[in-house]
Symmetry: C2
Subunit: 226 residues, 2 copies
Amino acid sequence: MVKEIKLVQNVLKANERVSEQNRNIFAENQLLAINIIGSPGAGKTTLLERIIQNIVERKAIAVIEGDIYTTRDAQRIEACGVDVVQINTGGGCHLDAPMVQEALTNLDLDELDLLIIENVGNLVCPAAYNLGEDFKMVVMSITEGDDKPEKYPRIFQEAKVLVVTKVDLLKYNQFDMDRFLAEVRGINPGIKVFQISNLTGDGIKELVGWLEEQRNYKREEQICSV
Amino acid sequence: MVKEIKLVQNVLKANERVSEQNRNIFAENQLLAINIIGSPGAGKTTLLERIIQNIVERKAIAVIEGDIYTTRDAQRIEACGVDVVQINTGGGCHLDAPMVQEALTNLDLDELDLLIIENVGNLVCPAAYNLGEDFKMVVMSITEGDDKPEKYPRIFQEAKVLVVTKVDLLKYNQFDMDRFLAEVRGINPGIKVFQISNLTGDGIKELVGWLEEQRNYKREEQICSV
């Protein structure tokens, strides 16, 4: 028989106050902020390149790149022609709201209407730290296996949108998409799902179309609330 | 220009005292303890199944399974005919030494000479927490990308052995093994590397042969120190 030890982990709440300040900053500036979360190698940075390449109004986009040590991802994103601020956590496993608040001082928020934050590669810890974003986007590649949602449920609960990457590799992997999506929807019935391939480009336009809708909703929300 | 913000993160050291106690327990019981670390979907549990299936003296093996919520991995490992203790962290992103010490009370240590601890799926946090193990094994799949060692250097520094999984997918991925291994060895020149496929079984026997050597070294070490 499998013996089970349950441990209780207190989730730190100190981050929440600053995340509310960030949320207000984003609202005042009519800025849609997205927090992208996924494991190392899920395809977050390549997805971000594809998204930016497919957005026409690129001037109003900025990216905050969370990394532990290098500026590799930031350099790739800068090459796409958008403003990038790099946060190096120096070992830390997630971004938190104060880090993002400091990063914001490097951006001209008046000029922006879309801020994309790429979190540190980690499916676990970033899910627990709100940054003030409008929503979280979880990115998971099919090579990570179809049994992951219930093993790492928090990010699937927290995210508004799931982007399943590397679907071009489906034929070489034992990945049951129906099982996977049923499990995801068992955790979060309302989650929006896109299946994409960064390699072939499949699904990217649909995702970008949806993101543009979210951007427009945010603008309209602001107009209505004035 | 990429703007960079450096943040200092204090690494918690409170774990070290208990990890030393665990180390003593393992030494007293002539038990080789291995701490397996890798991202979700790197192939840790399947690798563990393959290792156990290829070891002849299976009675003397036990496994501690670290998971956030489910007992899925523990059930798979139990089906291989070895003792398993499940640690559910309830949201926590890594195992720590006290969790392992508690788990040990559920095992008959006298009867064991190999303890394999599968950590929570996360390439970042588990690297910072010694559990008292003889060594860490990092497991990374080629689908995670060849740029990861310098982005997540700590686990490559800390590990004695690297198991590169899913090499059967090399032909469908843009993964430069030479670049990857050069970067790994830039961080840790002495790291032992195995390239394996859980699907085809390539490389498993070599890895298991090496593990058996480590097991024998540990037994001999104990004999010499008496």
